[in-house]
C-alpha cells in the first residue's frame, strides 16, 4: 500500500525516562488500510512509542500528524478523539464491572443516569458488525483472556477508532485464537481501519503484516520493510544488530531417576474456581519437561502447588518420594526445590532491599550466611560479589536497590540465587518473559547447564518456540488437565496448539 494516504505520521519522537532514552528521534509512517508491524526486542521502545501516540506519554520532542493535521495530545482522551485506540498488552479492564460498563467508561454519554440495557443492545449490534462476540452483561473476571481481548477491541471501535494499536496481542492466545484474531484484523482492514501490530514474534509478523518497522535500543533500524519478502534471519538481524542463531546447542537427553511426581492433584485458583483437575506429571533428573498452555489454564497454580505456595485439595506432590503437598514453602526450599517465579518484582524479589539482601533470600537461615541468630555480613558480601560476577549481573555494587535493576539483570539475580542453593528440582515459570535477546540466551544457557548437571526442570512458558527448543518432553495443559505428552522430536506447532486448545492427544488421531 505505498500509495495509500497517510493515516498517522510520527516525526522525530524523543522520549526519555530517568536513566534511559526510550525513543531516539523515531519516525513512524502508517498508511490507511494497512497492518503495520512494529518489531523489536523487549525494551527496544515499541510500547513507549505507541504510548506516546495513544496520548499516555508526552514526548520531549517530535510531532504527530493524523490525517494531515498536526496534533498535540494532552491525555489519552485527545488521542481517542482523534480516532486512535490502543489495546494494551495488559488489558485495561476493570475486573469487577461488566463488559458494557467497561466499554462505556470515560465517555460523556450517558450523561448521568445509566440505562444499561439500552447500551447492551447497542454493543450487541456493534459485535454483529465486526464478528466479535461476547456477552455484554458478563463481568470481566468471568471472561477468558481471548474474550477480554475482544472487549478491548470493541471498546475502541465503539469510540470510532480508525487506527488500532495492538501491543503484543498474541502473547496470551492459543495458535487457533491467533488465527481467529488475524481473520478479524484482515476484515477490519478491509473496512478501512489501519492497524499497528507491536510484536517480537517474527513468524506472526510475517503472516499478518503488510510492512514492518524495526526498532532497536530506541532507534529505527529499518522502516516500512515489506513483510512478504523479508526472511526471519533478516528481521532478526535488524532487531538485534547481529546474526541470531535460532537453534540452541543441546546435548541429547539422559534422564535419570524420578525426582518430581505430581499425582492427580486438584487445586483452586484465587477466585475459588477449580484450576487443576486431577493433574499428573513426572519429571526425571537431567530432563526438561515443558508445559505448554495459554495463560490461565492452571500453569501458575501448578507451579505454586509444587513449591508449597498453594493448597491442593486432592492428590500428592512427591519430590524424591516425599509428599510435599500442602506443606509450607519453607519445606520445599529445604528439600531443594528452586522456584523461578512468574512475577519477578511482586514475588521473586524485594525491590526496596539491596541486591545482596535479595541474593540471600533462600539461604539466610543456614551457615555460613548466618551464625545462630546473627547474619554474617562479610560472608554475605563475598558470596554476593561472587554470584554477581558469575552470572554477569550488571549493577554498580551489591548494595544497590533491586528496584533499579533492569528486567534481565533482575532475572539473572533470581537465577543466581535459586541455582546457588544446589537444587534438585527447578520450577521455572515464564523465565524469559520481557527480556531482551541477550538475557534470554543467558537464561536458557543456565537452564541447559542445570539439565546437564542432572537437575530436574519443569519449564512453564507461553513462548512455544522456547519450549520446543529447550524441552525434552512437552505436556499440554488445558483447563487444569493434562492434555497429553509429546517428545521434543515429534512435536510440531500444530500438535502443541491442539493440546493447548483442549484437544487431548490421541483424540485427534482417532478422528483421523
Amino acid at each position: 500500500m505505498p500509495d495509500a494516504p497517510s493515516a498517522v505520521e510520527m516525526r522525530g519522537i524523543v522520549k526519555r525516562f530517568p536513566g534511559v532514552l526510550a525513543n531516539d528521534r523515531v519516525d513512524f509512517d502508517l498508511r490507511q488500510g494497512e497492518v503495520h508491524a512494529l518489531l523489536g526486542e523487549n525494551g527496544a521502545g515499541k510500547s513507549t512509542l505507541m504510548n506516546v501516540l495513544a496520548g499516555m506519554y508526552k514526548p520531549e520532542e517530535g510531532t504527530i500528524v493524523v490525517e494531515g493535521k498536526t496534533v498535540h495530545f494532552g491525555s489519552p482522551r485527545d488521542a481517542i478523539a482523534a480516532g486512535l485506540g490502543m489495546i494494551h498488552q495488559h488489558f485495561m479492564l476493570v475486573p469487577s464491572q461488566t463488559v458494557t460498563e467497561n466499554i462505556l467508561l470515560g465517555l460523556d454519554k450517558p450523561r448521568f443516569v445509566m440505562n444499561l440495557p439500552e447500551f447492551d443492545k447497542q454493543i450487541l449490534a456493534l459485535q454483529e458488525q465486526y464478528g466479535l462476540h461476547v456477552a455484554p452483561k458478563a463481568k470481566i473476571w468471568q471472561l477468558s483472556v481471548g474474550e477480554q481481548q475482544r472487549v478491548e477491541i470493541l471498546k475502541m471501535l465503539y469510540r470510532g477508532a480508525k487506527v488500532l494499536i495492538m501491543d503484543e496481542p498474541t502473547a496470551v492466545l492459543t495458535p487457533q485464537e491467533v488465527d481467529e484474531l488475524f481473520v478479524t484484523l484482515r476484515s477490519m482492514v478491509d473496512r478501512g481501519h489501519s492497524i499497528v501490530f507491536i510484536s517480537h514474534k517474527l513468524d506472526e509478523v510475517r503472516a499478518i503484516a503488510h510492512c514492518v518497522t524495526v526498532l532497536r535500543h530506541g532507534q529505527v533500524t529499518a522502516a516500512r520493510v515489506p513483510a512478504k519478502g523479508a526472511t526471519k534471519a533478516q528481521l532478526a538481524q535488524l532487531m538485534v544488530g547481529r546474526e541470531v542463531v535460532f537453534t540452541v546447542q543441546k546435548k541429547p537427553a539422559n534422564p535419570g531417576g524420578l525426582v518430581l511426581s505430581v499425582e492427580s492433584i486438584c487445586a483452586e485458583n484465587d477466585r475459588g474456581l477449580p484450576a487443576l483437575r486431577d493433574f499428573s506429571i513426572q519429571v526425571h533428573a537431567g530432563e526438561i519437561v515443558g508445559i505448554a498452555g495459554v495463560a490461565g489454564n492452571g500453569q501458575s497454580e501448578l507451579a505454586q502447588a509444587i513449591t508449597g505456595l498453594r493448597r491442593t485439595t486432592c492428590g500428592q506432590v512427591l519430590i524424591n518420594g516425599e509428599n510435599l503437598a500442602n506443606k509450607t514453602p519453607g519445606m520445599a526450599i529445604k528439600r531443594h526445590v528452586a522456584h523461578v517465579p512468574e512475577d519477578r518484582t511482586g514475588v521473586g524479589s524485594s525491590p526496596g532491599l539491596s541486591l545482596a539482601d535479595n541474593l540471600i533470600m533462600k539461604s539466610y537461615r543456614e551457615s555460613p550466611i548466618s551464625r545462630g541468630w546473627v547474619l554474617n555480613r562479610p560472608v554475605i558480601r563475598q558470596q554476593a560479589n561472587q554470584l554477581k560476577t558469575a552470572y554477569d549481573i550488571a549493577a554498580p555494587t551489591i548494595e544497590v536497590q533491586a528496584r533499579l535493576l533492569s528486567g534481565g539483570n533482575l532475572q539473572k539475580a533470581i537465577l543466581a540465587r535459586e541455582m546457588s542453593a544446589g537444587p534438585k528440582l527447578i520450577v521455572a515459570v515464564q523465565p524469559t518473559r520481557g527480556l531482551d535477546v541477550g538475557a534470554i540466551e543467558a537464561v536458557q544457557r543456565v537452564l541447559l547447564r542445570e539439565r546437564e548437571n542432572g537437575t530436574a526442570i519443569l519449564l512453564i512458558s507461553e513462548e512455544l518456540e522456547e519450549i520446543m527448543t529447550l524441552a525434552d518432553r512437552i505436556v499440554g495443559i488445558y483447563e487444569g488437565q493434562n492434555m497429553g505428552e509429546l517428545s521434543a522430536g515429534e512435536a510440531t506447532l500444530t500438535e502443541i496448539g491442539l493440546m493447548m486448545a483442549g484437544t487431548r492427544r490421541g483424540a485427534s488421531t482417532a478422528q483421523g
Binding site: F17, N51, A54, G55, M56, Y57, S75, P76, R77, D78, I80, M86, H88, M92, L93, V94, P95, S96, Q97, E101, N102, L104, L105, G106, L107, P110, R111, F112, V113, M114, K155, D270, R271, G272, R344, T345, R403, L405, S406, G407, L410, G434
Partner: protein
C-alpha cells in the same frame, strides 16, 4: 424503666453523626484513597461550626463553615496522598493530629455549652404517626437527621446507577484502565476525598449543633471518627449497610448512657445502678464492638472474595516503568 422508644430515637440522632462520617469515608475509599483523618476533620468541623454559630447566631452558617473546615483539612490529605503519593495511612494520621491540634488551639476559650441558635427540630406530620417507626424516625428529630435519611439512597443511586458513579468505581478498582480512557484519576480522587472531608465536617457540626450542643475539646467526638473507619469495612463499602451500622452504633451509645440510671432493668435489679464501677466496662463496649464487627467483616470478605476497592491505599502513578 427504660424508654426504648426514646433510646432508639436518640440513637438515630447520634447515629446520624456516624452516618455522615461513614458515608464520607466510603466515598473516599471507593475512589481508592484511605482517609484516616476523619476524627480530626470531625473535630475541627465541630469546633468551627460551633464557633461560627456562637459568633453569628446563625446555626446554618455554622454547619456550612464546619463542612468547609473539614473539607479544607481533607484537601491537605489529598495533596499529600494523590499528588505527592505519600503513604496514605501515615498521611491520614498526620492530618488527624493536625485537625485535633488545630481545633484545640483555635477553640481555646470557646464557651463550653451554650444557649445558641440550634438547628430546627422537625416532626413530620403523617409519617410520625406510623406505629413504632413513627416516633423513632420522624418525631422531634433535627433537620440533619432527615438529611441523613435522604443521603443514603442518593449516594447508593449515584454510585451504582450513574455514569459519574461508574467512573468513581473504576478509579478505585483499576485506575490504569480509567486513565487510559481519559478519566482524570487525580482530579476524581481529590474530589471524593474532599467530599469525604465535607461530610466529616458535617458530622462534627451535627455533634456540636444538634446532638450534644457545645464544645468539649476532644471529648466532643470521642473516637467516633475511628468507629466510622471500622464501619466502612463492616459495611463492605455499601451505603445501606453503612446506614444500618451507623444507627446501630448510635443506639448502642445512647443505651450505654441510659443503662446506668434506672433501679430496675427488665424487672430485675439493675447491676449497673448498684455497681457504678461496671460503667467503665459499658464504656468499653462500643470500641470492643468495633473490633468484633471488623473481625466479622474480614471473615466475610475472605469468604465471599469481595472486599475493598482493589486500588485502595495505593497511590496511582501513570506509566510506571516496571521491570
Amino acid at each position: 424503666m427504660i424508654n426504648w422508644i426514646l433510646i432508639l430515637q436518640a440513637g438515630v440522632a447520634t447515629g446520624t453523626v456516624l452516618l455522615f462520617a461513614t458515608i464520607g469515608e466510603l466515598l473516599a475509599e471507593r475512589s481508592g484513597v484511605l482517609n484516616l483523618g476523619i476524627e480530626g476533620m470531625m473535630l475541627i468541623g465541630a469546633m468551627i461550626a460551633y464557633r461560627t454559630a456562637v459568633t453569628t447566631g446563625n446555626a446554618w452558617l455554622g454547619v456550612l463553615t464546619g463542612m468547609l473546615a473539614g473539607g479544607a483539612l481533607s484537601l491537605l490529605h489529598a495533596l499529600v496522598c494523590v499528588s505527592f503519593q505519600a503513604d496514605q495511612v501515615v498521611s491520614g494520621l498526620a492530618v488527624n493530629f493536625l485537625g485535633v491540634g488545630l481545633s484545640l488551639v483555635l477553640g481555646e476559650g470557646l464557651s463550653k455549652a451554650g444557649a445558641i441558635a440550634l438547628l430546627p427540630v422537625v416532626t413530620v406530620p403523617v409519617l410520625s404517626s406510623i406505629p413504632f417507626l413513627g416516633p423513632i424516625l420522624f418525631t422531634n428529630q433535627s433537620v440533619l437527621v432527615y438529611i441523613g435519611y435522604l443521603l443514603v439512597p442518593a449516594v447508593w443511586f449515584y454510585i451504582g446507577r450513574t455514569r459519574p458513579g461508574l467512573h468513581l468505581r473504576a478509579v478505585g478498582e483499576y485506575p490504569a484502565a480509567a486513565d487510559a480512557l481519559g478519566i482524570n484519576v487525580y482530579r476524581l480522587r481529590y474530589l471524593y476525598v474532599f467530599a469525604g472531608g465535607l461530610l466529616a465536617g458535617l458530622a462534627g457540626a451535627t455533634i456540636s449543633l444538634a446532638v450534644s450542643p457545645g464544645w468539649f475539646s476532644e471529648l466532643t467526638t470521642g473516637g467516633q471518627g475511628w468507629i466510622a473507619v471500622g464501619l466502612v469495612i463492616f459495611a463492605q463499602w455499601d451505603p445501606w449497610r453503612a446506614m444500618g451500622g451507623a444507627y446501630m452504633f448510635g443506639a448502642l451509645r445512647r443505651l450505654i448512657l441510659d443503662l446506668q440510671a434506672p433501679k430496675l432493668l427488665l424487672g430485675l435489679a439493675n447491676p449497673f445502678f448498684y455497681m457504678p464501677q461496671l460503667g467503665f466496662f459499658l464504656k468499653m463496649l462500643p470500641y470492643a464492638l468495633v473490633i468484633v464487627i471488623l473481625f466479622i467483616g474480614s471473615r466475610e470478605a475472605m469468604k465471599k472474595r469481595i472486599g475493598a476497592p482493589a486500588a485502595l491505599g495505593l497511590p496511582y502513578v501513570r506509566g510506571e516503568r516496571g521491570l
